[in-house]
Symmetry: C2
């Protein structure tokens, strides 16, 4: 990362803290952990920081506060952001795989478990039918299998729309989300990987919450119309 | 609730535990808390239980294990299930409002907070535009406002599809889900409120997880196609 951009006004730690909203003690912790590169030392006790520090702090803050990513996960994400030989796809995958919720599945829950095996086939058939290119190690694949296996273990009736309708609904939304990043980047020579990573955290976590909240409101409305 | 149906074979506590998958000690706790009505006493230490106990235990188990609802919330849901003078809409609303996540918003986060006020207008405008009939006290409305306010506080660009596209995607799915409950119930004289409540828990919680997992898989695929 370029520590001080030409022409950008450098700032001291206090200003970096004020503008980023991150307390000085926390910034010092990030410096010690290597999440933030050192500033340009101007004396034994003072250093100057630049806009790149500010933007990186905003990304770290989004990962901590919105993504609830632990420091080890943040280090992996920042390494992928910094390594410009890696594609944006690898960088975005690193962001997504470090975000929670992480599947916590014990082998005892899956080995020889008929519901788990049937749910795995159901998930993989759907992924194939949608033509989705995703890895078998994707945490979201395991989360999907876990939810489908739990559904199989309940006595509740399957829902009317069928799994495919859920997949198509999210595919349509997601394609528009990712395409917008693509278009923004096509306009610039140097892709702003820090900004793309920050948008990805917001898109993945906060719009997920938006989607879940909207679904519950839509349920309340549908219930009012059908049973009210 | 009808404790023993005519013609149904009564069972002892051990069989009720085995068939429901709920340990005897837990069943006794539910009996003490009044979540489960007493069986028909056949001696000072023995009682017989019926199919209604079994189905009610399955609903309680779904609320505990899938919905992570505390006992006080379960008591409210069961009261709404038992009160047949309440509409299915009130019963389903009680289920949804007791399910997490619950918004934890302090007045200090909202009073005089411009992001919060703008997010509230944005949410209510969307609800009005969709023609949704939901209460202002709906936890999902507060969760939506909280997510929108956090998005406003970040510097990330808004997503391409716009909020309305998210609302329409879930509305289409949800209408089919609720309509299927409606059709099932139109076929029967006595609506099985316990079964409707159990299906609602599964639909609200587990299909929410399905939707979130599918969205992340769709993101990975879209990222592979655009940036891979």
């Amino acid at each position: 990362m370029q520590v001080l951009k030409e022409g950008a006004r450098p700032m001291l730690m206090a200003e970096l803290s004020r503008r980023s909203g991150v307390p000085v003690a926390t910034i010092k912790y990030y410096l010690r952990e290597g999440l933030l590169p050192p500033g340009r030392a101007t004396s034994a006790t003072r250093a100057q920081y630049g806009e790149a520090h500010l933007r990186r702090l905003r990304l770290i803050r989004a990962l901590v506060e919105i993504g609830e990513v632990p420091v080890a996960g943040i280090a992996k994400i920042l390494a992928a952001v910094d390594d410009e030989s890696e594609s944006l796809h690898v960088m975005l995958g690193t962001v997504q795989y470090q975000l929670g919720p992480h599947p916590s599945v014990k082998p005892s829950q899956t080995d020889g478990d008929e519901s788990w095996q049937a749910a795995t086939r159901e998930a993989d058939d759907l992924i194939a039918a949608m033509g989705w290119k995703v890895t078998r190690a994707a945490p979201a694949r395991t989360l999907l299998i876990a939810a489908l296996a739990t559904i199989r273990r309940t006595s509740a009736a399957p829902p009317a729309p069928g799994l495919r309708a859920y997949a198509e609904a999210v595919a349509s939304l997601t394609d528009k989300e990712v395409a917008s990043v693509d278009r923004q980047d096509a306009d610039r020579q140097d892709v702003d990987r820090v900004a793309v990573a920050e948008s990805a955290v917001v898109g993945m976590v906060l719009y997920e919450r938006v989607l879940v909240a909207l679904r519950r409101l839509a349920q309340e409305d549908a219930s009012a119309r059908h049973f009210g």
